[in-house]
């Protein structure tokens, strides 16, 4: 990372900070590179692959819900030193919605950067206070028998949701299922929707 006259001050400051941290033995070029590669390869598609596998393999589903970190590791998604991953299952009786009221905790190492609304004050306040009304606004109506359970990501874990598989997709292949899992559904901000006529194999 060369320093030039054209670099914005923030870039110059970052380069100097990195140089000092390297000189002090806090970070190495290789460790930085590894983290940058992990960040670059993170995407909601990684989460979709875990979900599709869980939908088609009961043993993997058990592992995913019991030890999300190990499940992600088995796909090669887990970077050394990352925070543990917890996965919560949406069912007809409970719908989980993930929020971080204190900041913007999100399983970035797996899913990449959170969507912009996830970091907004409006989402963080409303999700924790009246999630049912928020989900209604987003076009999701849950019966009174379904408990809405908000998950406030406040500490060391990062949380992902295992959405419900639409019954019409039972029997689909892993690759077909990956295509219908959206980023929003991985934090409970959506349910799995799909155009059956267009996508049904």
């Amino acid at each position: 990372m060369a320093e030039t006259d054209q670099d914005p001050r923030s870039v110059v400051m970052l380069d100097r900070l990195i140089a000092h941290l390297q000189a002090a033995g806090v970070v190495t070029e290789a460790a930085l590179r590894e983290r940058m590669d992990a960040a670059a390869s993170a995407s909601p598609r990684n989460g979709a692959r875990l979900v599709a596998k869980a939908w088609t393999d009961p043993e993997f589903k058990d592992l995913l819900l019991r030890d999300g970190t190990a499940a992600a590791e088995s796909f090669g998604f887990y970077p050394a030193g990352g925070p543990p991953l917890g996965v919560l299952e949406n069912t007809p009786s409970v719908h989980h919605l993930v929020v971080c009221t204190l900041c913007s905790c999100y399983p970035r190492w797996l899913l990449g950067y959170p969507p912009h609304w996830y970091k907004s004050f409006a989402y963080r306040a409303r999700a924790a206070r009246n999630p049912r009304a928020l989900l209604e606004e987003w076009g999701m109506h849950f019966s009174r028998e379904t408990e809405i359970r908000v998950v406030d990501s406040t500490a060391d874990y990062r949380w992902m949701v295992l959405p419900m598989q639409p019954p019409q997709t039972l029997g689909w292949t892993n690759e077909e299922l990956i295509e219908i899992v959206t980023a929003d559904s991985l934090v409970g901000a959506d349910v799995i929707r799909f155009d059956a006529a267009k996508l049904s194999p």
């Binding site: 543990p84 999630p131 809405i148 406030d152 500490a155």
Partner: protein
């Protein structure tokens, strides 16, 4: 160190370290003084309140605690809806 069994009802400390000076707190203010139930033990981690200031730290047990939204925001949310929050042991009492 507390050892809290699953399904134990606990109260979050009604403490406000923000009023005593610089601090880093991972217990949301809306939970202070509220009653919830332990639903999972999540392991022990270095206290972020110390890590944030580069101080020597201790490992704290972390629990997943479930609170009724109706108790937190009376009259706003539907009865039965809830919120799950990670809370460190030193913020919990019987």
């Amino acid at each position: 160190m507390l050892d809290l069994p699953l399904d134990r009802d606990v109260t979050v400390m009604a403490d406000w370290p923000e009023e005593r000076g610089p601090c880093h707190v991972r217990t949301p203010s809306y939970l202070r003084g509220k009653r919830g139930r332990i639903v999972a033990f999540l392991g022990a981690y270095e206290d972020p309140g110390d890590l944030a200031f580069g101080r020597p730290t201790v490992r704290r047990k972390l629990y997943h605690v479930r609170f009724s939204l109706d108790e937190l925001w009376p009259g706003e949310a539907q009865a039965g809806d809830s919120i799950l929050v990670e809370v460190y042991e030193h913020w919990l009492k019987d």
